[in-house]
Symmetry: C2
Subunit: 441 residues, 2 copies
């Protein structure tokens, strides 16, 4: 059996998982591939720590150059994360004609254009299944299984940390800051949780998905983004009363006006499958013009699930090395990728929570302003006692334009009787199938 030599940069959580799979499932992988994947060199700053793996002597090194410069190594796995030095290492590997496997979503979302161009130039592949949704084979499914489809819309629970926090808040009625602290203690959230809770990580992943579906390489900065830190236990409770669950979703959607791409908390009907995705799980719900609705669900992070995706990429590249064939390029290289619509163009139903003084005429003032801005109210809940001089007034609207919504809230928040900024959460509906089915007649 032929050996295919592989080098690994970064023996952290995912690196360790990858190495464990390659060693423990070696014979299975060998049988399936018809070749042996040999982890020849592993570079990490810490080569002392016991990770529960027996490596052959000389495998571990502190010098990345030993991986990059080894002429036998044909695939380099980058798992250190972050922008630099990961970017430099990947570009270096590609320039030397080595294929790259990476889980680095931040890097791809920000420097994808440069990296893919370098890969193309050297007729090398960059495989990155592990960068989105951990163990779920979502990129491969879009790239290959759905190759005949225009993916018209996608709704993803792409960040396990946020989903863990929102799930806990929902199930236990607890507040954001308290649950965040628990998530940090459990290792589900970083000491600095900004990337996760502010929707940045989800936006990185959405940008990568948009690259595959729409050929957009510079989308990340244009993706509208809101995090979950302003969601309170009260909103989750009100959502429940309306039959909804609050989820942080990465969304893209082709509309008549153009392409929406956004990451923010949304209300999802309790009956929708996405509402049942709890804890650190990820899920991607998408619509292809031919395939209709699909949902993919699995662990979005962690040593073994993410390692599973890295190994899937490795085996694919190894097969192409064996066959001396070119890896299919991952994206539709559209001549002109579509622009992303500004968020002001969005049309959505909204949930509002006003913090107003408990006085006669307040509701009429608020609803008057909404009406003037073309926003019509579907239902109202006003209940509970004053907290810090204000009562919550909660509304669901019919469909309205985001620009109108923002203008109305700006006016409302300036009212004397309104004590704190109004919270708005978009309500997501999923009614595409009819439209898709008709398009084939």
């Amino acid at each position: 059996m032929k050996n295919i030599f592989v080098g690994l940069i970064g023996l952290g959580t995912v690196g360790t998982g990858t190495a464990k799979i390659l060693l423990k499932n070696q014979s299975l992988i060998g049988e399936r591939l018809g070749a042996r994947i040999v982890l020849k060199k592993i570079a990490d700053l810490d080569i002392k720590r016991d990770r529960g793996i027996q490596f052959s002597p000389g495998t571990l090194t502190r010098r990345v150059q030993e991986v990059l410069e080894d002429p036998e190594i044909q695939i380099v796995i980058e798992l250190i994360g972050g922008i630099e030095p990961a970017r430099t290492f990947i570009l270096d590997a590609l320039k030397r004609g080595k294929h790259v496997v990476t889980a680095n979503k931040a890097l791809l979302a920000q420097h994808g254009k440069e990296i893919f161009a370098e890969a193309r130039k050297n007729r090398c592949a960059v495989a990155f299944e592990a960068s989105v949704a951990g163990g779920i084979p979502i990129l491969r499914s879009i790239r290959e299984g759905l190759v005949g489809n225009h993916v018209k819309s996608l709704y993803g629970i792409l960040n396990g940390t946020s989903n863990f926090i929102l799930s806990k808040m929902t199930e236990e009625g607890r507040e954001f800051t308290e649950v965040l602290k628990e998530a940090q203690t459990l290792g589900y959230a970083e000491a600095d949780p900004t990337l996760d809770i502010e929707g940045i990580d989800a936006a990185h992943k959405l940008a990568i998905l948009l690259y595959l579906t729409h050929g957009i390489t510079v989308g990340y900065e244009k993706i509208y983004r809101e995090g979950i830190s302003s969601i309170s236990a009260l909103d989750i409770q009100f959502a429940g009363e309306f039959g909804f669950v609050i989820k942080l979703l990465g969304i893209f959607r082709e509309t008549k006006k153009g392409l929406e791409a956004r990451v923010h908390p949304v209300m999802v009907s309790r009956d929708h499958l996405l509402a049942s995705v709890r804890g650190a799980y990820n899920a991607i719900y998408l619509q292809g013009d031919a395939v209709g609705n699909l949902l993919f669900y699995g662990l979005g992070a962690g040593m073994m699930p993410t390692g599973s995706s890295v190994v899937g990429d490795l085996v694919e590249l190894a097969h192409h090395i064996q066959e001396n064939s070119q890896v299919p390029f991952p994206s539709a290289s559209r001549k002109k990728p579509p622009d992303i619509l500004p968020i002001q163009e969005l049309v959505s139903r909204y949930y509002f929570r006003f913090s107003a003084m408990d006085r006669p005429g307040v509701l009429s003032k608020i609803s008057g302003i909404l009406g003037k801005n073309g926003i019509s109210i579907a239902s109202v809940i006003q209940k509970g006692r004053e907290i810090k001089g204000a009562v919550p007034i909660v509304m669901m609207t019919h469909e309205a334009r985001e620009a109108d919504m923002r203008k109305a809230l700006k006016t409302i928040d300036r009212l004397d009787v309104v004590k704190r900024p109004t919270l708005a959460i978009r309500v997501q509906e999923f009614n595409f199938m009819d439209h898709l089915q008709k398009s084939w007649r």
Copy 2:
């Protein structure tokens, strides 16, 4: 752009969907593949019917030989279904060195060994994503995305017709025969529904999945099978009272004793994602040793979803033709595939519905026999009036051996006070993750 010529046998529902996708999404597919897929010849007995597609003159033919004998055609798509003449056509195509794409689960489940051997001999590929779960890219995900995993267990809603019937029965409290009739009127069920409602179609698909995960080519006949025709609205109602939903699942599971493979109705906790899969949708919930739990969900049949899978296979084969490379062989070619355990070895919790006379001592007689056979009762419901001289007594058991269960029911059903054969439904639990996680330490 290079042309890759393709022939299609069978312009029925899926064939029409495939042709529509190839024509309407031609430029998208061309961009992604870097070549043009040309549907050169289509053979069907009916070449007159308007299918809403404009074919080039000379494309349609009644003679299959025009497809098989055309030297330019490198890929043959078989979409006529059934065993013969589909088997002969596929073997003929392979002998001529043509790749084959098929959606024919019955054929693969029964003659897979012969077909795959012929493919291997001619260094050709047989691609069959469309044969399992319609538009869901499940085979590709297992074959490639999870290539580094031992798939330890799988639970699939693999037959849309049965799921449609069970969903309707659950949502509307109606009886099987009535809903079946409606499904036939709507076109969701065939005039002869045996393949769907008796679990045969699901067993075909389970056999194909086992071929990919465990290299078993002769599994179909060994898969234990029960259909849904004995499930009544009453059972669904009782299931609901215990917190369960009834689903027809195709299941395989590695246990300490060996490999279970079975298709039968099961009770699934209402909180499990599989319980939310309604109507004609399919879903596959599986456990990989590295990836953990995954769920795939989508339309399990239909013109466009199944066509989407056919096109995915076509593009993969076309890429390999372009690169002159070998398609990875789909299965772990295990030296010794595992045997399937006889159903008697199963250990499960059970739901029983006894039809007994409403007399003192009946419950004690029944529970006595269960006890003697080592089956302990978790809970009992006895309620409702006598129907045709019997009341339903419903029980949930703790874990018991199938062999013991059968012995006990045989004795119980012989009692004078028991009026009709007892219905038993297995209760499915899903608690693998801990075990899987531990295996990596």
